[in-house]
Amino acid sequence: MSGIDLINVVKRFGALTVIDGVDLAIAEGEFVVFVGPSGCGKSTLLRMIAGLEEISDGELRIAGSRMNETPPAKRNIAMVFQSYALYPHMNVERNLGFALETARLPAAEIRERVTKAAKFLKIDHLLDRRPAQLSGGQQQRVAIGRALVRQQKLFLFDEPLSNLDADLRMEMRVEIARIHREVKATTVYVTHDQMEAMTLADRIVVLKDGRIAQVGTPMELYERPANRFVAGFIGSPRMNFLPGMLVREGEESVLSLAGGRHRLSAHDYAGDVSLGIRPEDLILGGGDATLEAEVLLVEPLGGESLVHLNVGDGRSIVAKAQGRPEIRPGATTVVGWNHTRAHLFDKDERALNPRGA
């Protein structure tokens, strides 16, 4: 049992409330990723789990026991930092073994565990080097190795890959997935990178201003964002939003946009809404509903292209199209979507669903 329970957890720095009542249950062996805009409190929440920040209010339980007052070392947690935080004056071997040395394990066992972890991470040829003599990727491996040798049930990562270049990032992402598969430790992982979040996470926690905006599997967040914030945050390029008005007409609801009226199945809600459609769900020239649009710019990305469109009122949206569409900037075109792929948000930015859905 090594799940984590956060119960109405609050963090204040003086008068400033940074984490504002977070409730979250993380199951044993689960890989949970925290995402959110800069400053939303991801690191703070992670550091509270680690014990590096005191919890102002609420309760943290690990494996069912209250941990608020437990010092970090007694929480059975291993952590990997963004800056790697390797000890600069120790070689790789001592860096890896330092925690075990601190715990006064017998030298032979330290050696064995260090060797094993080093092999596992393919850094066994670097054991004599100092951190300064390692590349960024190698340092990252050592940092992960340092967490691994302790054989804890709980791993915390704070943006571990953000100092690496794109190639290495991908490589290490795969590596971390492999480690999780094999070690099966409960993992909490903070990142800015959606790709990491989508590929690594069992569940993603989207934070905003110190509160949870939504928790769910990557596909849940993508398919059914609970609010406009999550809808905009998950997915790249980000979801397009158009303002509109939703009115009840008998057994149906009607959505009025600047470019036309669209009949939808009945919603309980009526009033100002915003319509959200992902660029990949926009169809050039077709769909259940369509708008007239002027082509502003076509950005070819190779296999697909991003088409920037002006839909009137100076509002621009982005559509993703396969290949390289035969349209030129300045041309007028029709862009559409299917109702099943459209998202509606009320004036409080909550997702709207048709009655009965």
Binding site: L52, A73, A78, M79, F81, A85, L86, Y87, H89, R146
Partner: protein, 279 residues
């Protein structure tokens, strides 16, 4: 500003000329001290610019047990002060530099204020304290008293340095199960080399050179430190003043400091400026 080639050359000559003047002004007294120390007997009273390379004065001063004893005393005092003040300061600097607790700022202010205390203001109270501790006329009295000017300074400089060490390294050590003591010993101490050298050197120099306390708290010749020994060398009359011996003793005391100043120039300067020019 564009200067002609000759103008530039003149400028360079002028600057090197000034360098030479400054160097002469700074170094000539040392030359004269050493040259005088190498003249024997009455020769010192003839003003000649070249030394005779006679070592009589050195023989005299070094065969004098009291002077050797005072050299050793100075060494013991300075080394103990360095060790003690660094040990205490490292612990205090960890608290002040890395832990956010109520009372931090007032304590920093207190240390700063203490470092500005004039020594003379403490003399009578310190006299009493040293007697009470049973340290009067022992080297311990000086080691204790020298904490006044070494400890606050060291704490100040080391706190600044500790604060500049990366936070995540300490946190990694915390997660690795290190106690604060172990963090300081195994993680921070090895990372603080330059700062320790700077503060250690300055503490050494200050203790080696101190005069007022050394003059006041030590009563007997065999416990004196070098500056007092040199200050108290005197002859039977004004005309028998043993300048040769004094110059030889001064040279002996000065040479280690000069070597230190030349070798560790960078550390001394950075320690001095860290103490004074806080960014």
């Amino acid at each position: 500003m564009v200067r002609s080639a000759t103008g530039r050359r003149l400028h360079r000559i002028a600057i090197y000329g000034l360098f030479a003047v400054v160097a002469l002004y700074t170094l000539f007294p040392f030359y004269w001290m050493i040259a005088s120390s190498l003249k024997s007997g009455q020769a010192i009273f003839d003003v000649t610019f070249l030394p005779d390379l006679k070592f009589n004065n050195y023989e005299a001063i070094l065969s004098d047990g009291v002077f050797l004893r005072s050299l050793l005393n100075s060494l013991i005092v300075a080394a103990s002060v360095v060790a003690l003040s660094l040990g205490l300061a490292i612990a205090a600097a960890y608290a002040l530099g890395r832990i956010d607790f109520r009372g931090r700022s007032p304590i920093m202010f207190l240390f700063l204020a203490v470092s500005m205390f004039p020594q003379i203001a403490l003399l009578s109270g310190l006299f009493e304290m040293i007697r009470w501790l049973g340290l009067y006329n022992t080297l311990g009295s000086l080691i204790f008293a020298y904490m006044i000017f070494t400890l606050p300074f060291n704490i100040w400089v080391l706190t600044t340095f500790m604060r500049s060490l990366p936070r995540q390294i300490e946190e990694a050590a915390i997660m690795d199960g290190c106690s604060p003591l172990r963090i300081v010993r195994c993680i921070f101490l090895p990372m603080m080399g330059p700062a320790l050298i700077s503060t250690g050197l300055l503490a050494f120099i200050a203790s080696w050179n101190e005069f007022l306390f050394a003059l006041t708290f030590i009563l007997t010749d065999e416990n004196r430190t070098v500056p007092v020994a040199i200050a108290l060398i005197s002859g039977s009359s004004r005309y028998e003043f043993p300048y040769g011996a004094i110059m030889a003793a001064s040279t002996i005391v000065t040479v280690p400091l000069i070597v230190m100043a030349l070798l560790f120039q960078k550390y001394i300067v950075s320690g001095l400026t860290a103490g004074a020019v806080k960014g």
